[in-house]
Symmetry: C2
Subunit: 419 residues, 2 copies
Amino acid sequence: MRLELLCTGDELLDGSVPDTNGPWFMEQLAPLGLRPMAVTLVGDRREEIARAVREAAGRSDVLLVSGGLGPTLDDLTAEVAADVAGVPLEEHGPTWASIQARFAERGLALSPNNRKQALVPAGAAVYENPAGTAPCFVLRLGRCTCFFVAGVPREYQALVHAVVLPALRARLQADDARVFRAARVLKTVLLPESHLDARIRPLVSQHPHVRFGTRTRAPENHLKLLAEGASQAEADARLAAVERDCRTLLGEWLFGTDDDRYEAVLVSSLRAARRTVAVAESCTGGRVAAQLTSVPGASDVFAGGAVAYTEAAKQRFAGVPAELMARAGVVSPEVASALASGIRDACGADFGLGVTGFAGPGGGTAEQPVGTVFLAVAAPGGQVSVRRVHLPGDRERVQRLATAHALELLRHAVAGERL
Amino acid sequence: MRLELLCTGDELLDGSVPDTNGPWFMEQLAPLGLRPMAVTLVGDRREEIARAVREAAGRSDVLLVSGGLGPTLDDLTAEVAADVAGVPLEEHGPTWASIQARFAERGLALSPNNRKQALVPAGAAVYENPAGTAPCFVLRLGRCTCFFVAGVPREYQALVHAVVLPALRARLQADDARVFRAARVLKTVLLPESHLDARIRPLVSQHPHVRFGTRTRAPENHLKLLAEGASQAEADARLAAVERDCRTLLGEWLFGTDDDRYEAVLVSSLRAARRTVAVAESCTGGRVAAQLTSVPGASDVFAGGAVAYTEAAKQRFAGVPAELMARAGVVSPEVASALASGIRDACGADFGLGVTGFAGPGGGTAEQPVGTVFLAVAAPGGQVSVRRVHLPGDRERVQRLATAHALELLRHAVAGERL
């Protein structure tokens, strides 16, 4: 099946907003074993949209067109679709009724433009938009099935789920009734993509009915698995087998699957262990606390945090002795330890995390250049583990990676305690 | 001038990474008064790249092709370009010498593949890549000038700056020697796009030689101004005039221009005023501190921060009396004030910022639903100002907007003190 995307809108071409619908849709396609052959972006210009629709429909089996279905003058897609199909626009009664109902419900006045949104090419199949007023319509152009959906991401996503993906699934079944699929994403953090690839490579030949792919969301790398079988049970069994092997090879690099969010997994594991954590951070400047507290319900496990840039703040908030900082240096394993233990005590938490380092671009010494970071975790029994890392990149990257390392230290400490 | 982009790479079509080169390039084009008519993404497939190059070159004056110039088997772009042009590939001596030098410098062994990168279509103009090994080449296809550049963003950006933009500027001058341009971006924060638009609208008819545009980078909205004139002096004067008018209408919503980063502007204004700040945050969970400390040199002005989720942490870190929390409630103007004053005293800072609120999805009361946030700033003289806001959206959005409001309160307090 040859599939293409066409995304319309001036805002995609003048640098106002990047296209996020395309990448999102590709992620939804992966479990079906599909990906687009081409993606085209054009502005709100009648002749450009017409040309792009005509060309893509001429060479593809399925075309997904998005945007340009709103009520304003520069929303041209329905008109262009009718022109290319050689049919008139006509009002779709149920859509007009639903637009009127929507406005009445909200107490808004209808403008003449709003009625324009109920016009669709004659002969098109029309589907209601659960998230907005622009209807979705499906038109056959030559041998190509063309889906027209709204470009607002919320509406786009609702319509892809309600109309486009079910149609693609049905078509795949019809095209090849004997292929069933099962998909999983395995998520790692701080494991470089090349290492992930090297670890998994031996499995590729052992699982001939599975497609392997990777996806980078720094500092995470994700392994995408797509198993095929002659029945759903066979596809599921193949997926389970390859997932088991991958889990063995990835070990504790693996933190979650599919829709799992790293920080939510960590907060859940603390909650499950009935443990709390407090954080004292220097060079990460609040990022460790911010990532933990981005999770709903983080207050169950987060006992408090200190952003201790200065020596005075380290002393006041985490009780780090001035004498220790003078003797060992502020960026040292001793001070990372003292931050972890001190903040744990200060907040009455089970775990304490301490971070100190040189994020750059200034600072650093010959022995401890910019990018040197010490991370410490104080465990419920009081014992402290310290790690030293040297991180590459600019300030933003050092801060981001140091935050990931600090949270990993905590995740492993929580997991270790539960063994 | 009709300009198109063609971005190649399987990773752009399987959801691995979104295309960031296209949106970046569009931002560089804006000051020239240009934008692409279409953007096409295709995978690493010979026939798809060839079709896309042929079609785009057939209808455009300028085509920028990126990606597929690396040393591996799926890097096909140079071959395809030669095919489409009907010329052989030939080795470009200076490029091969520079690849050898680059590897020698780093002590890396050359593989036979590396020599492939020195092959370019016969007759192409070749430019050295300052940031990598893939050369940039320029080929004439019919009436279209085609630039071929590497897809790695660092290399792409270097080559666009070194080769593509200068060529476009020269061509614009040749095409229309009488039009000169001057551009500026004015940056606001927390001003909704519709309000920005309404404020500026009266100026549009008063400045007929200026193009107005907006760009959203939530919580910021940017106003893009592009002035044209028959000389550079005239374009500059028109830009200065419209900028003056915009500044009057935008007032203190405006925080910076062009490449200014919000938090860097704020840190600079604190440094200029020789003032420091300390932060005590509850519902923003470390984001205020993290945003301030993302700026290089933030240690000059950042005296410390506390993430005080619990009552105990508010008391310990910022000295908020338990009695006050019991009486006024933890989410209250009184507690926001006490956090601001308390953290200012604890860290010996000039300014103190306090944030308390309900980020959701849990929490909140009938009078203070989720999204209610109190923000306070304690000034050097000790006086405290408090603001109450009600923020829409989910937890992530409430935290992001509350952080922006807290920083704005500080920015205005620093500015007010300097008047």
